[in-house]
C-alpha cells in the first residue's frame, strides 16, 4: 500500500468537508460515494468518527482536547479520517484519525 493512496484519501476527505461547509454537498454526493467505493474495492475502510463518543481507549484517533476533560466526551471535528486496510480476512489500522474532542 503506497503512502500516496493515503494522501489521496485524505485529500478526498478534506474536499468532501469543504464542500459540505459551503453547503454544496448534495451535488457531489454521488461522486464521493463512487470514489469511496473504489477505495473500498481496494480493501480500504474509511471512517469519519465525527460526532462519535470519545474514550481514552480509542487508539484509532489522535485527539486534541478542547476545553475541560470530562468522562463524557465527543469528537466534534475530524481533520484526518480513520483508515483500515483489509488483507487476508483481517484488518489493520493504517491511519489514525486526527480529531478534536469536546465535553459532550
Amino acid at each position: 500500500m503506497s503512502n500516496n493512496t493515503l494522501q489521496i484519501i485524505n485529500q478526498l476527505f478534506e474536499i468532501q468537508h469543504k464542500i459540505k461547509e459551503l453547503g454544496q454537498a448534495p451535488g457531489f454526493e454521488r461522486n464521493f460515494n463512487r470514489l469511496t467505493s473504489i477505495f473500498e474495492e481496494e480493501g480500504f475502510i474509511i471512517q469519519d468518527p465525527t460526532n462519535e463518543i470519545y474514550q481514552d481507549s480509542r487508539t484509532d484517533c489522535e485527539a486534541s482536547i478542547v476545553g475541560n476533560v470530562s468522562s463524557k466526551m465527543k469528537i466534534t471535528k475530524t481533520l484526518k479520517p480513520i483508515i483500515y486496510k483489509k488483507a487476508d480476512n483481517a484488518v489493520q489500522l493504517i491511519q489514525k484519525a486526527v480529531v478534536l474532542v469536546e465535553k459532550n
Binding site: 481514552d56 475541560n68 476533560v69 489493520q92
Partner: protein, 843 residues
C-alpha cells in the same frame, strides 16, 4: 551467560526498544498503532493507567493526573501527587511504566530479562542510579547504562555509516521533539568517550511549529479579521480560540513537513471567530520558513560552537556531525549546520532510531546470568511434559462473557475474576490496533465496551499482568466478535444474489455477486459499471438489469430472476455512449423486498423500481439469449460424450437437448411485450434443464473436469514463468484463482469448475501474449495472412514494418504493442452460436 541484546532509548519526549539479532538490529513497533516510538507520557485515568500517545492527549488538560518530561527529574526527590489514585508517584515509577510498556512491543516468545538503557550525557550518579531502579521496577533483572551520544556513534560506526573508525573528534547533534543536546565525542580504535556536552531542555520540533504560527498564521488571521487582542487570546488555555489553536497546530506541522520537500505550500482552514465565518488561505514558501527557523537553528549552533570553544577546537578538528532526533530531518537545520560550521554532516542512520540501535549494538556484547537455572539436556522430557500441561502458578481465574456476534457498534465484555487479584492488571486490545484499554486494575467484576468495525470479524486479546508488569500467559484470552453477520436478529440469505453482466469477448453473460450467501438482511450496495454498448435515444436497444438468486458461479439460466429492469432507447433523454457510467443501487429489505435505483450518469436519469420477490421477473429478449447459450453448450457436451463413447450420458444429454428444443419455436415467436403465462412456463423449463445440465455426466464428468483443471494449472504456471512482461500481475491473477480452489472443487457443480477452467484458459493466453517468443511466432503468422483477413490491410502492413524494425533493434515492449495492434486489425473468425448477442448492456 546470555547476551543482553535489548537496547532502550528512554527519551524525554519519546522512547524506543531495539534488539540485536543475527548481526542485524530490529527496532520494535508498538503492536497498537504500529509506531516505533512511544511517547514518554503516563496518564492516571480514573480506572486505568495509559502510557504513550493516548496519555499525551491529556497532558495539557489534566496536569494533576498526567505526566511527561519526568526524565528531567530523575534522581531528584520530586514526587507528583496523583489526584485519581490519591497517592504520590516518583519519576522512577513513571519511567518504570514507560519501560514496562516498551516491553510489550516485544512478542512474548522473546522474553526481555535484561536491557541496556540510554541516559543523557549530563546524567550524574544519582540520576544514573535512578534509571537503573526504574529498570528494576519494570522487571528487568539486569540493567546496563549507556550515554546517548555514545549510543548514536555506535549506531553510525557499526552500520558502517561513519567516515572512518579512526581516531578523532565527532559531534553528536541531537534535536528531538522537545529537547536539544550536543556532545563532543573523542574516539580511538577501541574507545569512545564523551569529552563535553551542552543542551537546552526546551528546544525541539514543537518550537518550529510554533514559529510558523507566530510569524505567519497569527498575523494573517489578525489582518483578515481585525481582532485586536487575538494574539493574546489565541494561546489561552480553555480560551475561546482553543479549538482553532489545535487545528492550526496540526496544519502548521503538516506545512512544516510539506516544505521539507516542496518549495511552497498553503495552510487552509475555515473558522468562526467572534460569530463571523472566515475562510483562510495562507500561502507559505520555503524561503519564509528558512527565515523564521533561523533564530532557532542559530540557538543550537551557538551551543555547538560553545562546546568547540570550551575544548579549543575548530571545525577542521571534527570529522563529522552525526545527526540524531526527528527534527534533524528539517532541511533548514541541515543547510544552516553545514553552512555555518563547515563540518561534514552524517545522517546515514535514521535519526529517530539511532540511539536505540546503538544501545542494541552495545547490548550484543553485554552478558548477564539469567535468573532461571538452565536445565540439563536430561531434563528435556520433564520440560516437555510440563509445557504440555496448562500450568497456572497463579491462584487466579479469569472468565470472560460476551456476545460472539453483534449488530451494534460496540459490544459489552464482562470480565469476572476470582482468587489472588492484588496488584494485578489486565489490558484488552483489538488486533488491528484501533482499541486499547491500557492497564486496568483487576477486580472481581469489570466491564469494557468493545468498539466494533462494521461487517468484520473483530479480534481482541485480553492479557493479565502481575505486579512486575510480566504477562501471565496462562490467563490470556482471545475474543472474537463478528459485527453485522450471523446474528439471530437478521435473516441470512439462503442463496447468492447476483447481477447478470456482459462477457462481450465471449459473446455471453456472466454472474457477479452483489450479496453473498449467508449475508444478513437487510443489505444495501451500489454497483458502479459501464455501459457495454451504445444505445441511441429513441431506439429499440436496451439495457437489462437482471438480478438473480442462486449460485454466483453458475450460469444465469440456472438461477431465479428476482428483479429485471429494462431501460430502452425510448426511455432515454440523450444517447448513451458505450463506456459511460451506470450506477445501480440495490437494497434487499428484511422482508426480501428488492428496491433498485438505476442512475445513468450520462443522461442524468434515475429509474426506481420495487420488486416483490414473490413475482417472477422475465425479460423475453434475455431469455432467448439464455436459450441460445444453453443449447450451444448442450450440443458441445453431447458431442464430447459421443467422442468419448459415453453412450449413457450421450443419451441423457440428447434427451435434455430434445426437451429444450421443444420450447424453441414458441420462445422465438414470443413478442417482447407478451402478457401471457407462456414466458414463465418456458423460463421455468430452461432453468430446470440448465440445472440438470450441470449434473450431466455425474461424478465422472466432475472428476474429469477437476483433472483437466489441475493439468491446466501446471500449463499456466509454466507459461507464466516464461512470460517476459507483466509477470507479477499474471502471478497475482493465478493466485486469485488458486485461492478459491477448494470452494469450487467442493461445489461439485460442473458450471463452476468449467468457469474456473475458462479463467485459467484466458490466463494462459494472456501469459503467452506477454511472452516475446510467442509474439514473434504470432507476428510471422500475421505476415503470412492474406489481405482479405484484415479489416485494413494497408494499416496492418505499415504496422508490420514498424514491428520488423522494433524486432531488429530488440525493442521488445514496442514490438509487443505493434503485434497487439496488428491482431486488432484482423477480421474476427471466432465461431459463436450467439452471433446476434445483445447481452444486458452492462459491462
Amino acid at each position: 551467560m546470555r547476551s543482553v541484546n535489548f537496547g532502550i532509548d528512554l527519551g524525554t519526549t519519546n522512547s524506543l526498544i531495539a534488539k540485536y539479532e543475527n548481526s542485524k538490529i530490529h527496532v520494535y513497533k508498538n503492536p497498537i498503532g504500529q509506531k516505533e516510538t512511544l511517547a514518554s507520557v503516563v496518564a492516571y485515568r480514573p480506572d486505568r493507567i495509559l502510557v504513550g500517545d493516548k496519555a499525551r492527549e491529556y497532558l495539557a488538560k489534566d496536569a494533576v493526573n498526567v505526566f511527561g518530561g519526568f526524565k528531567r527529574k530523575m534522581g531528584t526527590d520530586e514526587k507528583y501527587y496523583v489526584v485519581n489514585i490519591d497517592d504520590n508517584v516518583t519519576p522512577v515509577d513513571l519511567s518504570a511504566l514507560v519501560l514496562k510498556e516498551l516491553k510489550k512491543f516485544v512478542p512474548p516468545s522473546e522474553p526481555v530479562e535484561a536491557a541496556v538503557i540510554t541516559i543523557p550525557a549530563s546524567f550524574d550518579s544519582m540520576q544514573s542510579n535512578a534509571t537503573i531502579k526504574a529498570g528494576q521496577e519494570a522487571g528487568f533483572t539486569n540493567v546496563f547504562l549507556l550515554q546517548e551520544p555514545i549510543a548514536a556513534c555506535l549506531a553510525f560506526f557499526n552500520e558502517g555509516a561513519a567516515k572512518e573508525k579512526a581516531n578523532g573528534n565527532w559531534l553528536v547533534y541531537d534535536l528531538g521533539g522537545g529537547t536539544f543536546d550536543v556532545a563532543l565525542i573523542k574516539s580511538n580504535q577501541d574507545e569512545l568517550k564523551i569529552v563535553d556536552h551542552e543542551g537546552n531542555n526546551f528546544l525541539g520540533g514543537l518550537n518550529f511549529d510554533s514559529a510558523i504560527i507566530d510569524s505567519i498564521v497569527i498575523p494573517e488571521i489578525i489582518k483578515q479579521t481585525g481582532i485586536e487582542n487575538f494574539e493574546e487570546e489565541f494561546r489561552v488555555k480553555y480560551g475561546k480560540y482553543e479549538m482553532l489553536y489545535y487545528q492550526v497546530m496540526y496544519y502548521a506541522e503538516e506545512a512544516k513537513k510539506e516544505l521539507s520537500h516542496a518549495a511552497a505550500t498553503a495552510i487552509e482552514f475555515s473558522a468562526v471567530l467572534d460569530d463571523k465565518n472566515y475562510d483562510f488561505y495562507i500561502p507559505i514558501t520555503r524561503e519564509e520558513v528558512d527565515r523564521i527557523f533561523l533564530p532557532l537553528v542559530n540557538e543550537t549552533i551557538a551551543l555547538l560552537n560553545k562546546v568547540l570553544e570550551n575544548n579549543r577546537l575548530t571545525a577542521t578538528d571534527v570529522n563529522e556531525i552525526i545527526l540524531v532526533g526527528g527534527s534533524t530531518f528539517l532541511p533548514q537545520v541541515r543547510a544552516q549546520l553545514a553552512a555555518q560550521t563547515g563540518i561534514p554532516l552524517n545522517y546515514a542512520v535514521d535519526p529517530t532510531t539511532s540511539v536505540a540501535e546503538g544501545a542494541a549494538f552495545y547490548a550484543a556484547n553485554k552478558y548477564y546470568e539469567p535468573a532461571a537455572v538452565q536445565t540439563e539436556p536430561g531434563d528435556k522430557i520433564a520440560d516437555d511434559i510440563l509445557a504440555s500441561v496448562d500450568f497456572n502458578p497463579v491462584d487466579l481465574q479469569i472468565d470472560v462473557n460476551y456476545s460472539r456476534s453483534s449488530r451494534d457498534k460496540e459490544e459489552v465484555l464482562l470480565i469476572t475474576s476470582s482468587g489472588e487479584m492484588d496488584n494485578k492488571t489486565y489490558r484488552v486490545t483489538r488486533t488491528d490496533g484501533g482499541f486499547d484499554t491500557g492497564f486496568v486494575t483487576l477486580k472481581s467484576k469489570k466491564t469494557e465496551f468493545l468498539p466494533l468495525i462494521p461487517g468484520m470479524n473483530n479480534l481482541f486479546t485480553l492479557n493479565v499482568y502481575d505486579n512486575g508488569g510480566n504477562e501471565i500467559l496462562s490467563l490470556k484470552k482471545e475474543i472474537s466478535i463478528t459485527q453485522g453477520m450471523y446474528n439471530i436478529d437478521g435473516q441470512p440469505l439462503p442463496h447468492d444474489i447476483c447481477i447478470e453482466v456482459d462477457d462481450v469477448e465471449n459473446k455471453t453473460t456472466k454472474l457477479e455477486a452483489i450479496f453473498d450467501r449467508n449475508s444478513l438482511l437487510p443489505q444495501k450496495r451500489t454497483l458502479y459499471r459501464e455501459i457495454s454498448k451504445t444505445i441511441k435515444k429513441g431506439s429499440k436497444d436496451s439495457i437489462i438489469i437482471n438480478i438473480l438468486e442462486g449460485d454466483k458461479n453458475s450460469r444465469a439460466s440456472s438461477n431465479l430472476t428476482i428483479g429485471c429492469i429494462e431501460i430502452s432507447g425510448k426511455d432515454l433523454q440523450t444517447d448513451l455512449i458505450k463506456g459511460s457510467d451506470i450506477e445501480i443501487q440495490i437494497h434487499l429489505t428484511d422482508s426480501r423486498v428488492l428496491n433498485t435505483v438505476v442512475y445513468l450518469v450520462m443522461s442524468q436519469q434515475e429509474f426506481k423500481n420495487v420488486f416483490s420477490v414473490s413475482e417472477k421477473q422475465i425479460n423475453i429478449a434475455r431469455l432467448k439469449e439464455q436459450y441460445v447459450q444453453l443449447e450451444s453448450e448442450l450440443i458441445d457436451t453431447v458431442r464430447d460424450f459421443q467422442y468419448n463413447q459415453d453412450t449413457i450420458w450421450e443419451i441423457k444429454g440428447t434427451a435434455l437437448l430434445d426437451d429444450l428444443q421443444t420450447v424453441k419455436e414458441k420462445l422465438f415467436k414470443l413478442k417482447d411485450k407478451d402478457k401471457s403465462d407462456e414466458k414463465y412456463i418456458i423460463a421455468e423449463k430452461i432453468t430446470r434443464i440448465s440445472k440438470e445440465y450441470d449434473k450431466l455426466g455425474g461424478n465422472e464428468r466432475i472428476a474429469a473436469l477437476i483433472e483437466e483443471y489441475f493439468h491446466a494449472k501446471d500449463v499456466v504456471l509454466q507459461a507464466i514463468s516464461m512470460a517476459d512482461f507483466e509477470k507479477e500481475e499474471l502471478k497475482k491473477q493465478f493466485t486469485k484463482i488458486e485461492q478459491s480452489e477448494s470452494s469450487f472443487i467442493h461445489s461439485k457443480n460442473v458450471s463452476v469448475v468449467e468457469n474456473k477452467l475458462k479463467q485459467l484458459n484466458d490466463l494462459y493466453w494472456k501469459a503467452l501474449s506477454n511472452t516475446t517468443s510467442f509474439l514473434i511466432t504470432r507476428f510471422i503468422e500475421y505476415k503470412n495472412c492474406s489481405g482479405d483477413e484484415f479489416k485494413d490491410y494497408n494499416a496492418a502492413k505499415s504496422i508490420m514494418k514498424m514491428a520488423d524494425a522494433a524486432l531488429e533493434k530488440e525493442r521488445y515492449p514496442e514490438f509487443r504493442r505493434y503485434v497487439f495492434s496488428i491482431s486488432a486489425l484482423l477480421r474476427v473468425t471466432r465461431i459463436n452460436h450467439n452471433i446476434d448477442f445483445k447481452g444486458t448492456g452492462i459491462g
